[in-house]
Amino acid sequence: MLAIGLILFPVLMAAVAFAIPWARPRIWLLPVTGAVHLALVAAVWRRPDLAAGTAWLALDALDRLVLLLVSVLFMLCSVYAMGYLGYRRGRSSRVFCGCLLMMLAMMSLVAWSHHLGLMWVAVEATTLASAPLIYFNRTARSIEATWKYLLVGSVGIALALLGSFFLAYASWHAGMPTSLILEELILQAPGLSTPWLHAAFVLLLVGYGTKMGLAPMHTWKPDAYGEAPGLVGAMLAGGVTSCAFLAILRVYRVCAAAGEVEYAARILVLMGLVSMALAGVFMVGQRDFKRMLAYSSVEHMGILIFGIGIGGAATFGALLHLVNNALAKGGMFLAAGNIHRAYESKSTEDVRGAMRRLPVSGSLFLVGFIAVTGSPPFGPFLSEFAILNGALGSGRFVVSALFLLFLLIVFIGMGATVLSVVQGRPSPQARAGGYREGILTAAPGLIFMGCVLMLGLYVPGPLRAALLEAAALLEVRP
């Protein structure tokens, strides 16, 4: 019942957005939908029993987590969008609002769907819904970005579908009733035929990993994030990636239930380190601060996967990091969007002294950098420290050393770019620009960073409980 509300209401609103001809009310649809959605999610959090769904649509702790993230992101981004669309009167907001709402619906569906086939459909749908958003600016560069996003993404997703079929076949092959419903798969996991399971895991990891942006399938990411409007970047980096991660976690649960943890963990750790390394390499000397954010997102996806691969204490850390990353990225992308607007450029050659030109966004950008590179008192520090402790505790010293090394490279690469953006004096023509940050465009970022700061000093009880529950779901090691 609630599921229907959470998923269909945004779809309905999207339809309305496409239908009605007036821009003003259309813009208002966003925050309204966001608020309703958030309210429903809150209800689910208060009374999980409300979420008692069918075998296809269910909601465990993990899903609740992702659902909350998506909802919060959308809420704040929709507020931001009102300010943003105010600046972009030239553009028709029809497609923009419609697709944004559609994205929300599909992401909620991903969180809900426990049928791998259905989940696949939803994930692919998020891709399709977000493509027009990336193309919002209608420039040659944005077309190119959209094209790559679409093609690379679709190919990856296609592999995920193949992977799902493999999984089904693995059970069919073992002579069991085939089904792609998560719970049933987990039940019959021990009997699954191992080679098919392995193949399925790799395919699904690569497939959803493409969506998540793990190196080397991350290639679409810098282009898409670089060209999309700031809030779309926030939705992609915070929401869509989380959904893809959720998909991978579900597959991982099947593997774990089948007693194939070592196999899966090995691959996850490898992919995680590769992603961190590549991201770091591309961040050093990065001139374009939005592309830099994209690579930072790649790095953090790597950290998530790495943490899951390490397992044990690190699992909790990885899940906490999921929350931190979504919020921090949201804040940084919104700030980056404002800076981009104000300077009409996203290259460090032109952008200087953002802290003087845009006090709030500039400071947010700097603070966000400090936060996402894992410095106290912000959330990511705790989660990364937990992951590191997990690695050390399990005696993986080399891996831990690499982890730290890559963190350092990322810090240096990111810091050079961020500092040159925020420090110094803006050029005269930059100061002359008409753009001023309003409450609508500044406040959401502040709220994001506020949450990140809070998570560094205080993890609320319910969240903590949910995290523990979710970690327990993933900790079925024999």
Binding site: A125, I143, F165
Partner: protein
């Protein structure tokens, strides 16, 4: 199990090679359309008993893969007045060779995979893998954006073939969802193609490499 089914599979393999070897885009589109129709026919022959679900699936598949999508692409071609050649990155003959090798590899790989007793499986899995690889070949060796769309279609076809194995396992809803997604994907790609052409007055992906590090 009918020998017809195996013939269809062989036909699919042949169409892969044709798709790799063909030089005109319109012809390529027709080839893929034909492959779609063949695919659509397959579900009818997987099992003896034919229930309404299977028929529905096959009809929708034929309609989508065989008619609607090709029609959309043909229209896109008509809208964008461009040279009709495929412009391969790798020559046609070499890509056919590669396709043949891919097929051989697929068959070889299928020997390693533990397969359930049913004898059709022995052919289905290699065919689907070969088709997937063909799709990758088209995606990686063709310069025109539209031929990459076709590559993606072939890739999907390959996956669909594997899906035949789980025909009864896979709920109708999901089947339809998959096809719908495919349709929308191609639709959006078509729009993007159109914009690309308007922006760059060509579909040459060499123009689409300004975003890099």
């Amino acid at each position: 199990m009918t020998p017809l089914f195996e013939t269809l599979l062989v036909l699919v393999l042949l169409l892969n090679l044709v798709a790799l070897g063909i030089s005109r885009i319109r012809a390529l589109i027709r080839t893929v359309a034909l492959q779609g129709i063949v695919l659509g026919a397959m579900p009818l022959f997987v099992h003896e008993h034919i229930d309404v679900r299977v028929v529905l699936v096959s009809l929708v598949t034929v309609a989508m893969k065989g008619m609607v999508i090709p029609a959309m692409l043909q229209k896109a071609m008509r809208d964008v007045q461009i040279k009709r050649e495929v412009e391969p990155l790798v020559g046609l003959i070499p890509s056919m060779m590669l396709g043949a090798t891919a097929t051989a590899l697929a068959v070889a790989l299928a020997q390693f995979l533990p397969l359930a007793g049913e004898h059709i499986v022995g052919l289905v899995v290699p065919t689907s893998l070969a088709t997937v690889l063909t799709g990758f070949l088209l995606l990686t060796t063709r310069l025109k954006a539209i031929s990459q769309v076709l590559g993606y279609l072939v890739l999907e076809n390959g996956i669909f073939i594997f899906g035949l194995l789980l025909l009864e396992a896979m709920p109708l809803l999901v089947e339809m969802g998959v096809l719908l997604d495919l349709l929308v994907a191609i639709f959006v790609m078509g729009i993007i193609l159109n914009h690309i052409n308007r922006e760059f007055s060509s579909l040459d992906t060499r123009q689409l490499s300004t975003l890099k590090d």
